[in-house]
């Protein structure tokens, strides 16, 4: 209860990715990677996570910066959320990402928090964060998914023992931009699409991304595919600062002659991963971009939703946000 002093740990500050990977291999499960540390330190103070060693990635210059490439943009995993919010290239070509960045937490968090950290942050399920022995914490119960569980903030889709949701605002934007996540390990580099980067409890109940032990997310590449498309981002939360989305939506739409040529929509706060609205996209694709199409597509958004005791409002909210994404983009 109410812990606030971190346990003792060693702190390493490697200067390059090779050094970080070596430390990661050496330290094993006793090690913990931090970038901005805005999520990690809370876990440490709660003593719910007790790493013996912490690897501070913030001195790795090659993981910083936002670079234009032939195929699009490469964003270092250490780029801060503020840098993304203010970057002129991102604002002009991928406004959905800048918009999403502007809605993350608070200015101070955005100044320090990184895009890598934002997409790797752990779920905000309040039971899990209380430090109790739920499935995700290695136990054998989900306190949220019970007849009396207080599960307003939990999922509509993809429950599998755990009903936690993806908290990230940037993740849905990266999914609709078809970003690739660059992951380095001792063997080299692998890339995973943003869509596949996030995993649900059916894949691994203790992780939220595909990153394996000993791996580091080093960069995020955004292809030219959606540059300059019509975009929409909206986050609905109880507060306009420092709050997590009840539901958020990101959309990218290619429109020609008022006809939707292509469209990608993803929502956070409704599943353990950013949920791709594939059916809504199929309905919208090839149709006129108007209220009627938007309503038709939105009507499909919550198909298959399994609301919990306190979150059926998310069905309407999800439908309405998909509606707005198509109608108002």
């Amino acid at each position: 209860m109410a812990k606030d002093m971190m346990t003792r740990f060693e702190l390493y500050q490697p200067a390059d990715i090779a050094g970080a990977l070596e430390l990661a291999g050496k330290l094993g499960p006793d090690g913990w990677l931090i970038a901005g540390g805005q999520d990690s330190l809370d876990w440490f103070k709660d003593r719910a996570k007790r790493p013996g060693a912490v690897v501070d990635l913030s001195r790795i210059e090659s993981m910083r910066g936002i670079r234009e490439t032939d195929s699009g943009l490469e964003i270092g995993a250490l780029a801060t959320v503020t840098e993304i919010e203010e970057n002129t290239l991102i604002k002009s070509r991928y406004a959905v990402l800048a918009d999403a960045a502007s809605r993350v937490a608070s200015p101070q968090i955005r100044n320090v928090g990184t895009i890598g950290g934002n997409v790797c942050q752990d779920t905000r399920c309040w039971y899990y964060r209380s430090g109790i022995d739920c499935y995700r914490a290695g136990g054998s119960t989900c306190y949220a998914d019970t007849p009396e569980g207080m599960n307003r903030e939990h999922c509509l889709f993809g429950a599998d023992r755990c009903v936690a949701v993806s908290p990230s605002d940037l993740a849905p934007a990266l999914v609709v931009l078809d970003a690739s996540m660059v992951i380095q390990n001792k063997a080299g580099e692998r890339t995973v699409s943003a869509q596949d980067f996030f995993i649900g409890p059916d894949t691994d109940i203790e992780r939220m991304t595909v990153i394996e032990a000993g791996e580091i997310l080093t960069a995020i590449r955004i292809p030219n595919t959606w540059a300059g498309a019509r975009f929409y981002f909206e986050k609905v939360a109880d507060r306009n600062t420092w709050d997590f989305a009840l539901v958020n939506v990101a959309a990218a739409i290619q429109v020609e002659n008022d006809i939707i040529q292509d469209i990608r929509i993803a929502c956070g706060g409704v599943e353990c991963v950013p949920r791709r609205m594939s059916v809504a996209e199929d309905i919208a694709r090839g149709s006129a971009k108007n209220e009627e199409t938007a309503r038709l597509a939105a009507g499909s958004a919550a198909r298959g939703a399994v609301p919990l005791n306190y979150n059926h409002f998310k069905i309407s909210l999800l439908e309405n946000l998909v509606l707005r994404a198509i109608r108002d983009s």
Binding site: F9, Y12, Q13, P29, G31, L41, R50, P51, I211
Partner: protein, 217 residues
């Protein structure tokens, strides 16, 4: 009962060590050493890395404890633990108690300091990650003869603070705002300060203060 001697009220904790405080520090240091030698680290459920058990004592390649911090334009030598936050270092090692701890979770902004021109929650910053960057706190705003910074004066003139606990953080966010955007609109000011919570709800008066400061600077 042992005489606990005097407390150090007010300003004496700020820059120079008052008599007695150095003794307090050395006992703290001696103690820290002892614990590291005997410390038992509980098992971890770390999820990013896999491999061997925790090492004993300071491991090779880990950070040096004695570091230099650039605080308010001065280089300060300070003994910093690996798991120490900047708010803790400022408040308890350097006596800069103007930086407040209200949530210690990066949620309220009472601990806001400026690091290389950007606002940070010092409660959620490990001191060792600051490196050679410059740190500015509320104590660094006054002129050499104690004259108030125009932002501080504006916060007085508009009766910005109520209880005052969030005020240093509000002012540090204002410092950065006006450096990056000297003539902000009220809405820009409101967004720039939005990471600073005020339970008294003094937002309107704080914004009046910011806008007045923007006129003066």
């Amino acid at each position: 009962m042992k005489d606990p001697t005097t407390y150090f009220p007010g300003d004496s904790l700020n820059e120079a060590d008052p008599p007695g405080l150095s003794a307090f520090r050395s006992s703290r240091r001696a103690f820290i050493k002892g614990v590291i030698a005997s410390g038992a680290v509980a098992a971890s459920s770390g999820y990013l890395l896999s491999g061997c058990a925790p090492g004993e004592g300071p491991a090779a390649g880990s950070v040096e404890r004695l570091i230099s911090l650039n605080v308010n334009g001065r280089i300060r030598r300070v003994d910093v633990l690996p798991n120490e936050t900047l708010a803790m270092t400022l408040r308890y090692k350097l006596g800069l108690t103007g930086t407040k701890l209200a949530c210690d979770r990066g949620e309220c902004g009472a601990c806001t300091v400026v690091i290389d021109g950007m606002t940070n929650y010092s409660c959620s910053t490990l001191t060792h990650t600051v490196g050679s960057r410059s740190v500015r706190t509320i104590e660094g705003l006054e002129g050499p003869d104690g004259e108030l910074h125009p932002i501080q004066q504006a916060f007085i003139d508009e009766l910005g603070p109520q209880c005052g606990f969030c005020t240093p953080g509000q002012i540090m966010s204002t410092v950065v705002l006006l450096e990056r955007n000297p003539k902000p609109t009220r809405d820009e000011a409101r967004r720039a300060l939005s990471g600073n919570l005020c339970r008294c709800g003094a937002y309107d008066h704080y914004l009046n203060s910011v806008m007045r400061a923007a006129e003066v600077i």
